[in-house]
Symmetry: C2
């Protein structure tokens, strides 16, 4: 692959310019901004690698599907990515325009730079480079790009069930992956699930003068009292029955944690933390991060949110919560537990609205594709990967992979300081170039494995 | 006063147009919007009643002070008002532009229509009409207009101590007052105090991807757990020592409650309530409303506040609280109690920031001016007033009146459905016109009392 690596290095500027072009096009699924324009941009780009994709319409954002034949017609590799991005807010914490794609100190800063445009394009550029250097690809490639990953992939399952042939493959590469800054690339084999809900409470027609607080129920206080029953001060979720379906990690899963190179001090420094929850450290910290569920307050909105003092009593309050789930928790079962928990305590006035749900998923770490990916890391990065049984995050793996029997493997262009979903998201340009080489290497090696 | 009342009725349109002009000029102290323009507008208007006011600069917004001599040189009446308004948010709940001053069905809708531009102008127009009908005013008038009432009057006390002569008066009319829709005008003789604070918690440098929620403290959860210790589910404030300095209402004060015409059903209907806190009704409801302190969540801001789902963990969270105080609670003592309460429970990571404070205040209900105002109500409104020992709300009476020995009396142009501090604030035009007549009557009667 020396010849290909040299070609990639020689065309570095072209690949970076392409990433800038993609990042400058907002494509915010939660706010329905720029989706159509983003799809057009992708279709135009795929034409340069001889792929004319189908735009599969859904009742949400379209899924882009493309395929191209390779020399080994009996071996197929699929790349799943998403073209939508998280909202950029809070805007005031960005050092440059979230859609400016400014390059500073070897990093490109933009919403979506890593998650997921960098990874998506690393694979497009790998195909581009492979075609330029060797001609026909070594194996069949399928591309599946969705536009609603950041809002919980509500239509991906529909696609999987409607077009089972398009999911048929021998190796399934999931959207991306991370890497330690000066350490190993991560290869991921599973994800947590997710239940995203809103707790809503309205007690009056509108916000009121706060003198009314003496006699009118305050919806923010109602939510505070309800939430206080859902988690204790030691971060244990106290929703009735929440842990009942959580599987205890196996010895093998616990052993995997010991091989991880989690640098606690650097993480604390980077995120500005005094310490981790409950002052955890070592394997118990990693167990909580990768194998335990969460109940996170993602947003709390009530009353006056501007500067200064406004003496108002909210008429309405909303809490957004995301609960990360682990095997064998199921989103709809957890949703039911939340409702019952609140009802049992008299919080029948609090509405629980399900925004999205995704069960947890884990692949078989022994499958051919997983082992091939793991083997390809050292030639590109100069060191062996860390192998994660489960990510601490979530993607829509289950609905896509579970029924189709796919063992999805995650690797990509991100790193631990990419700030995905947060202000100042960025990608290290070197990571992006290496991800192109890695994707090309995986194509080459999996074709003959 | 028949001649004057007729004159006021004949000039109704002129007075309404003047109120529209004032309401169309935003003057939002919390956001520092339009203050200078508002001051210019007032100065111009006062010139029409032969008053050239002083603009008393403070380190915040200026205080406008004016005076004019009357026939009875030994009797002075002072009008305190404020020219600033609350922020108009949430904008989406307004049916017309908050600064459009649209008139619909005999009401003028605008932020500040009642609080406090309507009351302020009712007194200006009373002077205007008196001068037109009778020439010189019957007694000396002093006008004191501040521009920071809605942010807790941080500079009013400084003014009072710097210029004690300007406070010397025989009767002191406070900013305004309310009225039942088809019932009696309210005359108010006291106010609750107010402590406005922010509880702030930051646990990380910025908002993070919510997968971090497994191991990073969430500041919104910290605030939820802290708040849950500060009030119980029955609306009893549980801040250690909070009720220690609350004076039990006297028999006379309790008797006053029995004379009030509080229409519970109408209030519930207007505010869209299922019921009052703890299903209170009758005198216990009124006691809570007028004689008990509150601890209100005025705002809760954390994480993602937009539409849809964003899987983010807040790095920072803020709760705004206003605590309405009753004799003998003092803002700074309560602030200390809050800090100690949190420290005692390990919430030392939560910052408590005082935005403003105002002690409660009560006037002597037997004083000459209070008795005169009470007597003037029936001739104008055709029924006796309700007399309130204390309002459920707050104005900066204490700092102004306590040291100067002033017995402030409240009456004005508002009504129970004015929506002050809330969307769709409005003033009934008839109330505004009656308030002009009332102010003129008070001048006339107090001059000879």
């Amino acid at each position: 692959m020396k010849q290909l690596y040299d070609y990639v290095d020689a065309h570095r500027d072209e690949y970076i310019a392409l990433l800038q072009k993609f990042c400058r096009q907002p494509s915010i699924s939660a706010q329905n901004v720029g989706i159509k324009e983003m799809v057009d941009l992708i279709v135009k780009e795929l034409a340069t690698i001889q792929i004319t994709p189908e735009i599969v319409e859904t009742s949400g954002n379209p899924i882009i599907y493309g395929e191209i034949k390779g020399k080994n017609e009996n071996r197929t590799l699929s790349f799943y990515n998403h073209y939508d991005v998280q909202p950029p807010e809070p805007l005031e914490e960005w050092k440059s325009d979230p859609f400016g794609a400014e390059i500073r100190d070897g990093k490109l800063y933009a919403r979506g730079a890593t998650d997921n445009k960098g990874s998506l394009l690393s694979r497009v550029c790998a195909i581009k480079a492979y075609q330029a250097v060797y001609g026909q690809l070594p194996l069949n490639i399928k591309l599946i790009y969705e536009g609603e990953e950041e809002v919980g992939s509500p239509h991906l399952s529909e696609f999987a069930h409607k077009y089972p042939d398009r999911l048929k493959t021998d190796g399934f590469a999931w959207e991306g992956g991370s890497k330690q800054l000066d350490g190993p690339l991560e290869v991921g084999l599973g994800v947590k699930g997710l239940l995203y809900i809103e707790l809503r409470c309205r007690t009056a027609v509108s916000d009121l003068h706060s003198s009314n607080a003496a006699i009118v129920k305050n919806p923010a206080w109602r939510l505070v009292h309800a939430l206080a029953t859902m988690k204790d001060a030691n971060d244990r979720v106290t929703i009735d029955g929440f842990y009942d379906s959580v599987k205890k990690p196996t010895d093998y899963e616990m052993d995997c944690l010991k091989t991880l190179n989690f640098r606690e001090d650097k993480t604390k420094e980077r995120l500005g933390l005094d310490g981790f929850i409950n002052d955890l450290t070592g394997v118990p910290l990693l167990e909580k991060l990768y194998y335990q569920p969460t109940a996170n307050i993602a947003g709390f909105k009530a009353g006056y949110l501007g500067d200064g003092a406004k003496t108002v009593m909210p008429g309405n309050a909303v809490v957004k919560m995301d609960l990360r789930l682990v095997p064998d928790q199921k989103p709809d079962e957890i949703l039911k537990l939340v409702r019952e928990h609140l009802d049992r305590r008299g919080f029948t006035d609090i509405e629980v609205v399900r925004l999205s749900g995704e069960p947890p998923f884990r692949a078989n770490p022994e499958c051919l594709f997983a082992q091939t990916v793991i083997k390809c890391v050292e030639p590109v990065y100069g060191m062996k990967p860390e192998v994660f049984i489960s990510s601490s995050g979530t993607t829509a793996m289950y609905q896509f992979c579970h029924d189709a029997g796919l063992d999805a493997v995650m690797f990509g262009a991100g790193n631990e300081a990419s700030n995905i979903h947060a202000p100042n998201e960025n990608i290290i340009l070197e990571d992006y170039i290496n991800a192109i080489k890695m994707a090309a290497t995986v194509m080459e090696e999996f074709a003959k494995a």
